[in-house]
């Protein structure tokens, strides 16, 4: 485990643990408090398992009032609070602090209201992303953002991280699909932003809170909009003999006026790894491969598939396969979704990065990643949400080799710096968390960061909510850890990633 600088520990508070627990027992039921080391250990990390820290206490409030009372108590006693949804975050956003109360929202697990007339679902934050779609799919509706961890990640966590998915280009991320929230601020104030209307008046506090990584408030209720399922969905699997051809094809598809529902790209290393893993029927001789998914009415999809095929051929595609049925379409995706475990098969350890770049810079960035790979002598496989420019390089290494983790981290930081240099950003969907906070100054000036910190202080003056996350502590661009997986042992190995 690499060392991570976190806010100064309040030793005095830790010595008063018994009092804290006794006071919490006055607010919530005893069985909803975990304070023994053996009980808190399972909560010592989220899906960025390179970092571990047991919290002082873990609490499981059952309703908004309890959350409000806990926060008001913590505010009064100056106790740090780390909110946690399902713990599937990849940037350490729910990493506890030794002197913090870990506030778990897993008991907020009910769908409160399905409102077809207003095309929305009101849910408690602990409800999983996928179960929202499952609750409405019999009526032909679905919830659009689909992070790959959707079977386990919670909708509250999705709001906190502004989660994306593979359909973001056409359907947006969480922020574009959220209508309202109920939140609790650190002083215990319960407030609603938005509701069942489109937009809300005044400052867009809903927009501010989305993606704020648990630093501004605790989410206790979420209202999301649901969409009608398209009539037809088809996917094309296209192979290219060079990365550049694949990259140009992506740009040409967009430039021709087509917005695919999803457009994914993989390099040769990942094509082989995933095809070995799930036998998806990928073009193994190709240097790069695209999955282009199109949706709409029947004849619209056929028309678009034909146009995409033409563009692919113009860009010297080496193979094109069109899904003939739903089973085959899902098979196309199966390999892509197995990218993580497939990499686990190829190397003892890997790190997953998460930068976004302008689509047209793909070839340039991949070339640079290739150069860095040689420089650091570490192999890398690349998955790319080509539609929205979100790049996930997977750096493979062996943690048992001396300094290899450190080397990997430097490699990762260089990739993200390259993303920013070509006009992209540090993180597309995993969040900053503790993972990328020291890289923030690569993207933002001191003024930019100070403005954000001022907002944090305006809503949480004593910086008690999730401190040590998102903003640099070291105040220098140090390299820190990424998503670290040893021998395929992710925190939740059965959950698909990115």
């Amino acid at each position: 485990m690499t060392k991570l600088t976190m806010p100064k520990i309040d030793r005095k508070l830790i010595s008063k643990k018994t009092d804290v627990v006794a006071n919490l027992k006055k607010i919530i039921r005893t069985e909803n408090i975990l304070d023994h080391e053996d009980q808190t250990r399972p909560f010592e990390t989220d899906a960025l398992s390179a970092y571990k820290q047991k919290p002082l206490v873990v609490v499981f409030p059952e309703n908004t009032k309890e959350v409000s009372k806990i926060l008001a108590y913590c505010n009064q006693e100056r106790i740090k609070v780390v909110p946690r949804g399902a713990g599937t975050g990849l940037s350490g956003g729910a990493l506890p602090l030794a002197d913090s109360i870990l506030l778990c929202l897993s008991k907020f697990n009910k769908i409160i209201n399905i409102d077809y007339k207003n095309r929305c679902v009101v849910a408690q934050p602990g409800v999983t992303n996928l179960s929202i779609t499952q609750a409405v799919e019999d009526r032909g509706f679905y919830y659009a953002p689909d992070p790959s961890s959707q079977i386990a990640c919670s909708i509250g966590g999705n709001v906190a991280e502004n989660s994306g998915g593979v359909h973001s280009l056409k359907y947006g991320t969480t922020t574009n699909n959220l209508l309202g929230v109920q939140v609790v601020f650190i002083d215990g104030t319960i407030i609603r932003f938005g509701g069942k209307t489109y937009d809300s008046e005044g400052y867009d506090l809903l927009g501010l809170i989305t993606g704020s990584e648990g630093l501004l408030c605790v989410i206790t209720e979420v209202t999301v909009k649901i969409l009608t399922k398209p009539q037809a969905v088809k996917a094309a699997l296209i192979g290219f003999s060079t990365i550049e051809d694949g990259g140009r094809c992506v740009s040409d598809i967009i430039a021709s006026g087509i917005i695919p529902a999803g457009m994914e790209m993989m390099d040769k290393a990942l094509i082989h790894a995933t095809d070995n893993f799930v036998k998806a029927g990928y073009p193994r001789d190709a240097e790069s491969m695209l999955i282009v998914e199109l949706d709409g009415t029947e004849n619209e999809v056929d028309e678009l598939i034909e146009r995409v095929s033409k563009i692919a051929k113009k860009n010297k595609s080496s193979s094109i396969k069109i899904s003939k049925n739903e089973k085959q379409r899902l098979k196309f995706w199966a390999g892509r979704k197995a990218a993580f475990p497939a990499c686990g098969d190829m190397a003892p350890d890997y790190y997953c990065m998460d930068g976004t770049i302008p689509r047209g810079k793909l070839a340039e960035v991949l070339k640079e990643i290739g150069r860095l790979s040689k420089k650091y002598n570490l192999p890398v496989a690349n998955a790319f949400h080509a539609g929205d420019g979100n790049l996930h390089p997977l750096i493979m290494y062996d943690a048992n080799e001396k300094n290899s983790l450190e080397k990997t981290e430097k490699f990762g930081a260089d990739i993200l710096k390259c993303c920013v240099k070509v006009g992209g950003v540090l993180t597309g969907e995993h969040g900053v968390g503790v993972e990328k906070r020291e890289l923030m100054c690569e993207m933002f000036s001191n003024n930019d960061i100070q403005q954000q910190i001022k907002i944090k202080k305006a809503l949480d003056a004593s910086s008690l909510l999730n401190p040590g996350k998102v903003y640099p502590i070291l105040r220098k661009c140090a390299e820190e850890g990424r998503v670290h997986v040893h021998r395929g042992n992710t925190k939740f190995p059965d959950i698909p990633r990115f």
Binding site: R119, F193, G202, T210, A255, D388, N447
Partner: protein
């Protein structure tokens, strides 16, 4: 000069009171200076939406109109970066060359506020965050701002976001500045997400429906998989004194009959797809025997341009309100308001534009109460000569006000940027 014009006229300012910064650095220098000397300032672009919100009493005006021009437009990357006061017209013309558009449909407030078309500037659209008929499908202005640069109330140049759609690096301040009416930052540069313009558009019109059946049809159409992009109900104007009967005059289209109310559904896309979807809609809505007509592309585009520019309110001397409510509640609200208003429903019933005759402050507050109770909000977009001033133009509650005030302080600690434009004390 009407009362409202007098109210908005900068009577407190001398001739040297308007500054015209030429670039971001100068904007920063001016605001830094005003911050030091505690001088409140009014931010102005082209002035097209100046009348929305409360009139300001500032001794200085920062006219940002010189910050205009396209910085970078990459059609295949689906973004355009522009200086903040670039006119919407110029942006749309540029996008049109590549068959692209601002999908949120910027609203033309010119007819309503000044009697002739005036889309204003990019910053104006962002500051107001009011979007056109396609909103329920593609999102509003705030969903199309990828990033911005601007100057806060201390004169500091800040930025947020970028040029890509998937970005979770830091707080999403691009959302926060949308709809902030220039009270948080003076915008200097904006990056918009752009999308391909649809090849064609057609409009299915169902005539002479009552509000109950019209909203039912619109709801069914939006909930269908036919991917519609416009859903309005335009009832016949009420025959009350003060109401200018100009719907028929505004919508003079050869294929549009004027037989009672108009329920209109827009379908956009490729020709084949549109035809198939119209066929589906007619079947699914079971309207084959209804009085319907179809507007082909050219007329359809004119129709929706007139809708989004609120042209049928252009001669109004009355108060114009914008009400946003959950779509399921709009019929209830109409019942509660009785028939004393001219209105039209957009977004399938989730948005109501209303012209209120002889509206008093008490009546406005009573409407607000009803709307809030139904889960919505109301904005006074245009004051009338009859009611030139209202206490609260926008809707807010105490808790949200407190949070908003803290946010305001974090950007503009001395309250020098458009003070009081939105709320007293912000």
């Amino acid at each position: 000069m009407s009362i409202e014009e007098t109210q908005n006229f900068p009577t407190f300012q001398d001739s040297d009171s308007i500054e015209y910064p030429k670039n971001e650095k100068e904007v920063s220098n001016f605001i830094r200076k005003f911050y030091k000397s505690n001088i409140p300032i009014e931010l102005v672009g082209s002035g097209s939406k100046k009348k929305i919100g409360k009139p300001l009493q500032c001794s200085k005006t920062l006219n940002l109109s010189k910050l205009n021009g396209i910085v970078e437009y990459l059609p295949e990357e689906l973004y355009i970066k522009i200086k903040a006061s670039t006119s919407i017209k110029q942006i749309e013309e540029e996008l049109k060359k590549n068959k692209q558009q601002l999908a949120f449909e910027p609203i033309d407030f010119g007819y309503l506020l000044n009697g002739k078309s005036d889309y204003g500037t990019a910053a104006g659209q962002v500051a107001c965050n009011i979007s056109g008929p396609r909103r329920f499908k593609v999102g509003s202005v705030r969903d199309h701002v990828l990033g911005f640069r601007g100057v806060n109330g201390k004169g500091e140049i800040i930025k947020s976001g970028g040029v890509v759609v998937k970005n979770v690096t830091g707080y999403d301040l691009s959302k926060l500045i949308c709809g902030s009416y220039g009270t948080l930052v003076a915008l200097t540069e904006i990056t918009f997400k752009v999308l391909p313009a649809p090849e064609e558009s057609k409009t299915l019109i169902i005539h002479n429906q009552k509000i109950e059946s019209a909203t039912h049809l619109l709801e069914k159409a939006i909930s269908s998989s036919n991917d519609i992009s416009g859903a309005i109900f335009l009832p016949k104007e009420p025959e009350v004194p003060g109401c200018v009967m100009n719907i028929e005059k505004t919508f003079k289209l050869n294929d549009l009959k004027h037989e009672g109310s108009i329920t209109a559904i827009r379908i956009e896309g490729s020709k084949n797809s549109i035809n198939q979807r119209i066929k589906n809609l007619i079947n699914e809505l079971k309207i084959i025997n209804f009085n319907i007509s179809i507007l082909e592309t050219h007329q359809s585009e004119i129709f929706w341009n007139k809708v989004k520019s609120l042209e049928f309110f252009s001669f109004s001397k009355n108060s114009i309100l914008r009400i946003v409510i959950p779509p399921s509640e709009c019929v209830k609200l109409i019942y509660q308001l009785s028939n004393k208003y001219k209105y039209y429903l957009d977004w399938g019933g989730a948005l109501m534009w209303m012209e209120a005759f002889e509206l008093s402050e008490e009546m406005f507050e009573s409407i607000r109460k009803k709307v809030v109770k139904l889960g919505g909000y109301v904005t006074m977009i245009k004051n009338s000569d009859y009611l030139p001033h209202v206490e609260e133009v926008f809707t807010i509650n105490r808790d949200r006000f407190n949070v908003s005030q803290n946010i305001k302080k974090s950007f503009d600690p001395k309250r020098i940027l458009n003070p009081g434009k939105m709320y007293t004390g912000i």
